[in-house]
C-alpha cells in the first residue's frame, strides 16, 4: 500500500520530462534485490493462463540467443543497467501472471491492431500474446450478457491486481450517450469508471485514451476527453502515439511485473523511458536539418536523397517519443524512415496543432475565438499592415494640421 502511495505521489510531483539515466549503484542494487524478491513471489503464483512463454518462442522459431538479445535491448529501453537483463527475461516469462483487462472506447481499434501486430510474430508481440488478457471487447469470442459476466468475474477474481488498459476517448457530451457498450447500454464513461475502481493501475493506450486524440479534435462534437480527465486517484500511465508502440506497452507491463510499480512519468504521465527523448534528436535525417537540406515537395531530388522533412511539416522537433530509436514493428521502419514527416501523434491535441503537414509558420490556425483560420504570418502581417495604415493616417493628418498651424494664428 505504502508503495502505491509513493508511486502516486511521485506521479503527481514529477514536473518535467527530465530523465535520470544514472541513479547510482546503491539505488540499482536495492532495486535489483526488490525486483528479484518480487519475481520469486510471482513465480509461486498460479499462472492466469496456460500459455508457456518458452514453448511459444520455440513454436515461433525464436532461439534463446535471440530472446536474450531482446531482453538486453528491453533492459536498455527501460533505462536499467545490464545486470537487470536476466530479471527482464524472467519477467517476460512471468508475464502470464499479470492479469490485464482491456477496454475499447471511442477509437479505431488501432492500438489493438498494434497489440496484435503479426507480420510474423516477434518477441514483443509474443510477450503481449501471453499476458493474461482477461477481457478484451474486440478480441474475445463472448458477447452480450456473456461478455458482461466474464468482465465481472475477472474484476472480482483479480480485484486490486489487474492492469486496466484503455483504448479510445471518452465522449462526455450528451451525458456520454455518444458511446454505449454491452447489453445494458452502459455509457463509456460509466463503464470506464466501474472498471477502474478496482484496478491496480490504469494504462491509457494511444492518443485517444491519453489526450482525446482524433475524437477530441476540433470541433469535438462528442465532447471527447482522455482517461486522465475521468479517472482520478489511481496510478495512471499514458502511452500516447497513434497507434501506441507495442514496445512501450511491453515496457510498461514488464516494469510493472518487475517492480510492482508504475515507471517514472513525466508531467503528461508518460513513462520517461519512452517519452523522455525528442524524436528530432535521434532522427537519422537530423544532419540534413542542420545543413539546411530540406525536401521542398514530395518526390523532388531532396526526397530522393532522404533530406530533412521539416518543410513538409515534420513535427519531430516538438515531439517526444522513442520511435526514432525503437521504430515500429520490431524496428522495421518508422514514419520519417519511409519519407514522410512526423505528425506529433504522441503530443496533446496533435490533430489540431501538429498534424497539418506543413511548418507551423505556414499552418492555418484557429484564432482563440474560433472561426478565423489564418497562418500566424498572415495574421501578423495583417496586424503590421493595420499599424502601418494607422501610422499613415496619423502622419498625413499631422502634416495637414501642422501646415494649418504654421500659416494660421493659433501658434502659441
Amino acid at each position: 500500500m505504502s508503495d502505491k502511495v509513493e508511486a502516486v505521489k511521485k506521479l503527481f510531483t514529477s514536473q518535467s520530462s527530465r530523465v535520470e539515466t544514472n541513479k547510482g549503484d546503491t539505488y540499482y542494487q536495492e532495486l535489483f534485490d526488490k525486483c528479484e524478491a518480487r519475481l520469486n513471489e510471482m513465480r509461486s503464483h498460479q499462472p492466469a493462463n496456460k500459455l508457456d512463454f518458452t514453448d511459444l518462442l520455440e513454436d515461433n522459431g525464436i532461439d534463446r540467443r535471440e530472446f536474450m538479445k531482446w531482453a538486453s535491448a528491453t533492459t536498455a529501453m527501460l533505462m536499467l543497467p545490464p545486470m537487470f537483463t536476466p530479471l527482464v527475461a524472467d519477467a517476460a516469462v512471468l508475464m502470464n501472471r499479470a492479469p490485464v483487462i482491456w477496454l475499447e472506447l471511442q477509437d479505431c481499434a488501432g492500438n489493438s491492431e498494434a497489440l496484435l501486430r503479426a507480420d510474423g510474430p516477434k518477441i514483443d508481440e509474443i510477450v503481449l500474446d501471453i499476458i493474461s488478457l482477461e477481457f478484451h471487447e474486440t478480441l474475445q469470442a463472448a458477447s452480450g450478457h456473456q461478455a458482461e459476466k466474464q468482465l465481472e468475474e475477472a474484476m472480482e477474481h483479480f480485484k486490486g491486481k489487474y492492469l486496466l488498459f484503455v483504448e479510445g476517448a471518452i465522449p462526455m457530451a450528451m451525458d456520454g450517450q455518444y458511446g454505449t457498450i454491452g447489453a445494458k447500454g452502459e455509457t463509456f464513461h460509466d463503464h470506464l469508471v466501474r472498471c477502474a475502481e478496482n484496478a491496480a493501475a490504469v494504462v491509457a493506450v494511444g492518443s485517444c485514451a491519453t489526450f482525446g486524440g482524433i475524437p477530441a479534435a476540433a470541433p469535438n462534437p462528442t465532447g471527447a476527453v482522455g482517461v486522465m480527465d475521468v479517472v482520478k486517484n489511481k496510478p495512471l500511465i499514458n502511452i500516447p502515439a497513434c497507434p501506441a508502440n507495442p514496445a512501450n506497452m511491453v515496457g510498461v507491463i514488464l516494469h510493472y511485473v518487475l517492480t510492482g510499480q508504475v515507471p517514472e512519468l513525466d508531467s503528461l504521465l508518460r513513462p520517461k523511458f519512452a517519452f523522455g527523448y525528442r524524436i528530432h534528436d535521434n532522427c537519422e535525417r537530423r544532419a540534413h536539418f542542420d545543413a539546411g537540406e530540406y525536401v521542398e515537395e514530395w518526390g523532388d531530388v531532396g526526397a530522393q536523397n532522404n533530406f530533412c522533412l521539416y518543410k513538409m511539416g515534420c513535427k519531430g522537433p516538438m515531439t517526444f517519443n522513442n520511435c526514432s530509436i525503437v521504430r515500429y514493428n520490431e524496428g522495421v521502419n518508422w514514419p520519417i524512415g519511409v519519407g514522410r514527416g512526423c505528425i506529433g501523434c504522441s503530443e496533446p491535441d496533435f490533430w489540431d496543432k501538429y498534424a497539418y503537414e506543413r511548418p507551423m509558420a505556414d499552418a492555418k490556425i484557429k484564432a482563440p475565438t474560433g472561426g478565423v483560420e489564418k497562418t500566424v504570418d498572415e495574421f501578423g502581417l495583417g496586424m503590421l499592415t493595420a499599424a502601418g495604415i494607422g501610422i499613415a493616417i496619423h502622419a498625413a493628418a499631422s502634416t495637414v494640421a501642422g501646415k494649418r498651424e504654421n500659416s494660421g494664428e493659433s501658434h502659441e
Binding site: R18, A291, K353, M360
Partner: protein, 238 residues
C-alpha cells in the same frame, strides 16, 4: 546652441549602447528566427552536408542574440529600479501624476500636437509605459524561447551541467500551460510575439520621428547624442 533653447540630458551612454545593441539584435533575431520557423532560402545541392550547416548557423546566431538579450534585459531590469540617472519604475506607478501625464501625452498624439499640456523635457509616463510593454514582450520571447531550447536537452544534461536544463524547466515550463497546453502552442506564441514586437517597433520609430518633427525639440537626437533641446519658455511655463 540655438538661441532660446536649453539642452537636457535624456539618455546615458550605457542606455544608448543598450538601445542600439537591442535594435541590431532585433533585426538579427527576426532574420534568423524567420529562417528557423520556415527556411526561406535553399542551400546549394552540390555542396556536401558537412560544408553547409545553414540551419545550425541560423540557430547559433539566434541563440547568441538571445543570450545578448538576456544580458541587456537583466541590466535594464536593474536600471528600472536602481539607475542613478532616472528610475523608470517611478513613471510606471499608477499615481495621479503619472496617469494625468499619460493622458496628456496621449491627447497630444491624438490631437496631432494641438494640445501639449505636459513637460516634454524629461521622460514621460506614456513612453515609459510603451517601453515597458516592449521589455515585457522581450521577456516573453526569452521565456518561450528557452522553453523551446530545453526540448533539445531531453537527456537532462548539457555541456555546462545538469543544473541548466533543470533551471530552464523550473523557470519556463509554465509557459506551456499559459500558451494552451502543448509544445506547439509555445512555438506559435513565440512566432506570433515576433509580429507584436515588429508592430511595436514600427510605431516606436514613427512616434519618435513624429515628436522630432512636430515638437521641434530634436527628440531623435536623444538616442544618438543623449540629449534634446527644450524651449526656455516652455520650461518656465511648467
Amino acid at each position: 546652441m540655438k538661441q532660446g533653447y536649453t539642452q537636457v540630458k535624456r539618455m546615458t551612454p550605457a542606455m544608448r549602447i543598450i538601445h542600439w545593441v537591442n535594435a541590431i539584435c532585433m533585426i538579427g533575431a527576426v532574420v534568423t528566427g524567420l529562417y528557423i520557423g520556415h527556411p526561406y532560402y535553399q542551400t546549394f545541392m552540390a555542396d556536401g552536408a558537412v560544408d553547409k550547416y545553414v540551419m545550425a548557423w541560423n540557430r547559433y546566431g539566434h541563440f547568441i542574440i538571445a543570450i545578448i538579450f538576456d544580458v541587456t534585459s537583466v541590466i535594464i531590469a536593474y536600471l528600472y529600479f536602481f539607475s542613478r540617472f532616472e528610475k523608470p519604475y517611478k513613471k510606471l506607478v499608477p499615481n495621479t501624476q503619472n496617469i494625468t501625464e499619460f493622458k496628456a501625452v496621449l491627447v497630444n498624439l491624438l490631437t496631432l500636437n494641438r494640445k501639449k499640456e505636459f513637460d516634454s523635457s524629461h521622460a514621460d509616463s506614456f513612453n515609459t509605459v510603451y517601453f515597458t510593454v516592449f521589455h515585457l514582450l522581450l521577456i516573453w520571447m526569452l521565456l518561450t524561447g528557452l522553453q523551446m531550447y530545453v526540448h533539445g536537452l531531453g537527456s537532462g544534461l548539457s555541456s555546462i551541467g545538469a543544473w541548466w536544463p533543470w533551471m530552464l524547466h523550473l523557470t519556463t515550463d509554465w509557459t506551456i500551460w499559459i500558451c494552451g497546453g502543448t509544445l506547439m502552442d509555445v512555438r506559435i506564441s513565440h512566432h506570433f510575439t515576433m509580429w507584436l514586437i515588429l508592430c511595436w517597433v514600427v510605431f516606436h520609430i514613427y512616434y519618435q520621428v513624429w515628436r522630432t518633427i512636430f515638437w521641434k525639440e530634436a527628440d531623435i537626437a536623444i538616442v544618438i547624442g543623449g540629449s534634446k533641446f527644450v524651449k526656455d519658455d516652455s520650461l518656465k511655463s511648467e
